[in-house]
């Protein structure tokens, strides 16, 4: 500790150790390739459509991840699968094409990983636009993503206008239409789906009463398929 140089080199090296862990994870995660399914010749995950990629940036910029997660956890880590948030756990390969994955860390609202394929029924664009405009119990409304426009004399209302009821309905002669931001956000949300099951998303479950150390040959082959 007497030498200045030795002190700062020591601090540098100490931090380097945890950075080494980061590099180890990067070797493992950074080289993840898309999965090619030989049985039907498709590659997964698929790229998001353009509007959905834009929508992910809107999602990030509004800070939606403060209340919504996008990670389905396996059984034993909570009833995510039983809630219908997904058919399987999320795996790292799901996110390789996402420029800014939004995993989140607090479930103030429901998980959205597989919103476009939610069971028993997935919301469609109109449902989501109405929800964004009106808000819900526990969720604020995002009216600034919409504009209230006057319908010109003799003009048709926009085919994008929201169909609202009750107190939310705009005055006669006006309509509420989503801005580009709202449309891309909803385009993103309806495209959130993790329907393809990768081999690593099917963890080998040890049958009850069996010694996990001794796998039967067949189970070992199924569990080891990567």
């Amino acid at each position: 500790m007497k030498s200045n140089f030795a002190f700062f080199i020591g601090v540098f090296v100490a931090v380097l150790i945890s950075w080494g862990m980061l590099m180890g994870a990067n070797v493992q995660l950074g080289s993840l390739a898309p999965y090619f399914d030989e049985t039907d010749g498709t590659t997964h995950p698929e790229w998001m459509p353009g509007i959905a990629a834009q929508g992910q940036l809107v999602y990030r910029d509004l800070g939606c991840a403060a209340c919504h997660t996008q990670q389905v956890r396996r059984d034993g880590m909570g009833p995510d699968l039983a809630r219908g948030w997904g058919d399987r756990q999320s795996v790292a390969r799901d996110y390789i094409y996402q420029p800014a994955p939004q995993l989140g860390n607090n479930r103030i609202g429901p998980d959205l990983t597989n919103l476009g394929d939610r069971k028993p029924s997935a919301p469609d664009s109109d449902d989501l636009l109405n929800l964004l405009y009106s808000g819900a119990d526990g969720m604020p409304s995002y009216r600034f993503l919409f504009e209230t426009r006057r319908i010109g004399a003799g003009a048709q209302p926009s085919d994008k206008a929201l169909s609202l009821v009750g107190a939310l309905r705009p005055p006669q002669g006006y309509e509420i239409v989503p801005t580009l931001e709202a449309e891309s956000l909803v385009g993103y949300l309806v495209n959130l789906r993790t329907t393809y099951t990768y081999p690593e998303a099917r963890p080998y479950v040890v049958p009850k009463g069996q010694n996990p150390e001794v796998k039967p040959a067949a189970a070992a082959a199924a569990g080891g398929a990567k």
Binding site: W19, L22, R73, P79, L103, N105
Partner: protein
């Protein structure tokens, strides 16, 4: 240690950079208090300010955190770090212009970050909500402030530094280290997919364990022996405590990733390193056990901060285990842990050190002893209430999330009373911090008057008030 007056020419000659840093810190603390209250109200009542595009909950929470961490904790930590290192060197701080300019640009950086987040450049990474374009400015301005501290360190009187100086000098160095790595891996050449979350978790844990916590510990390690007039207990082990947190701190990153789409070994590393931190916490508590004698305002805050620190180590390690994280992960417990660390541990230690340092830096006694006592009472009440309400909200939320049949509206309803409690706690903390600001600026303004210098009766009298 001796009964001679504490204040030295060193403090008087290096007071302007220290006062600028402290004034910025206290101002940001009040700003952060207002924003945290706003965020807490939005959490309780989502419709509150919902029509305002710059103040969605995601934005207010991120802005409040940025103002708190980079406005208050960083400025206060740098001020106390420079003060400790300057006293070690035995001469006035060198490169004061660097520190002054660095502090000014740091504050500009924080302001730019807040405007950027409000405009929609949210990063979504905890403790790193600064938009990517502000980070180089933050790096350089932190470096400029650090120049002064590094010069004081290298020009020290005694060859062998004290433990408080290790922590302060290391913290000057570690933030640029980890921030530059995170900047490259998240913004310049973004890592692929979930690797970004791993980098963000590593930064979050590193920023806490090897940047903010060392700054707070440095202040505590300096003030406790000064106030009690006794040497640190079990000093020989202090080096082990220092090195262990420095090595292990970043390795606890896996705590944020349990159960998610990440390699499982990250979690195992987090469990092991979280348990290794028990050793660090025990050494810190042993070294500083005299803080629990509770003499004076500084020691009361420091004792409270140390208790929170120890509790944090236990809770952090516990939540790294898969079984616990399955129940408690992805709930408000995460927020509770963050507040326990940033408010309970770091802020309380800074409060204690500020109450000791400011009269010595300014040469004036605290303006009002009543305000000091009111601040102590309100701050501790607020911190305990805030963490407790968040933990109870997490319990209600975790119970609901654990049963697939419980609908979300029911979970929301069950957390509401506790979130209302968190609002009240934030209001108490805002009031407490406002009192601190009044007292601090009142004391600093006394400098413009020609007043008799404060008398420091003996080294054991902590606050001159």
């Amino acid at each position: 240690m001796s009964s001679t007056p504490e204040r030295t020419g060193v403090d008087a000659a290096s007071r302007w950079p220290l006062l600028l840093l402290l004034a910025s810190a206290v101002s940001w603390l009040v700003v952060a208090g207002v924003l945290s209250l706003l965020a807490a109200l939005q959490l309780r009542e989502p419709a509150f300010m919902a029509g305002c595009p710059v103040l969605t909950y995601g934005h207010t929470a991120a802005i409040a955190e940025t103002a708190f961490v980079y406005g208050w904790l960083a400025n206060a930590g740098l001020a106390l770090g420079l003060w400790v290192l300057g006293r070690l060197s035995g001469e006035p701080l060198r490169a004061q212009n660097w520190a002054l300019a660095g502090c000014a640009f740091w504050n500009i950086g924080v302001t730019m970050a807040i405007v950027g987040i409000a405009a929609g450049d949210t990063t979504g990474f905890e403790l790193l909500q600064l938009p990517g374009y502000v980070q180089p400015l933050m790096l350089f301005s932190y470096g400029a402030v650090a120049v002064s501290g590094i010069l004081a360190w290298s020009g020290r009187l005694r060859r062998t530094p004290f433990v408080s100086h290790w922590y302060a000098a290391a913290a000057l160095f570690t933030l640029p280290w980890v921030l530059s790595v995170a900047h490259v891996m998240l913004f310049r050449a973004p890592a692929r997919g979930v690797m970004q979350e791993v980098v963000a978790a590593w930064f979050e844990q590193s920023a806490w364990w090897i940047w903010i916590a060392p700054l707070a510990l440095s202040a505590a390690y300096y003030v406790v022996p000064k106030v009690t007039g006794k040497a640190l207990y079990a000093y020989d082990y202090a080096l082990v405590g220092f090195l262990s947190v420095l090595i292990v701190g970043g390795l606890t990153a896996g705590r944020h990733l349990v159960g998610g789409p990440f390699p499982a070994w990250l979690d195992s590393v987090a469990v092991v390193s979280g348990c290794l931190l028990f050793g660090h916490a025990i050494i810190v508590l042993l070294n500083l056990r005299l803080a629990f004698t509770g003499r004076g305002i500084a020691l009361k805050f420091i004792a409270f901060g140390l208790l929170c620190y120890a509790l944090l180590v236990i809770v952090d390690a516990a939540t790294s285990f898969t079984g616990v994280a399955g129940q408690a992960g992805l709930t408000f417990l995460h927020e509770a842990q963050k507040q326990l660390a940033l408010y309970g541990a770091a802020t309380a230690l800074f409060y204690g050190a500020i109450y000791y340092a400011v009269p010595r830096i300014t040469g004036r006694a605290w303006l009002s002893g009543l305000l000091v006592r009111a601040h102590l009472f309100l701050a501790i009440l607020g911190i305990v209430a805030l963490v407790a309400c968040l933990v109870l909200a997490a319990c209600a939320q975790g119970r609901g999330l654990a049963q697939a049949s419980v609908p979300f509206s029911q979970i929301t309803a069950s957390t509401r009373p506790w979130l209302a409690g968190a609002c009240a706690a934030q209001a108490i903390l805002l009031l407490a911090n406002f009192l601190l600001a009044v007292n601090f600026f009142g004391t600093a303004c006394e400098l413009s008057k020609i007043a008799p210098k404060a008398e420091f009766a003996d080294a054991a009298g902590s606050a001159a008030s």
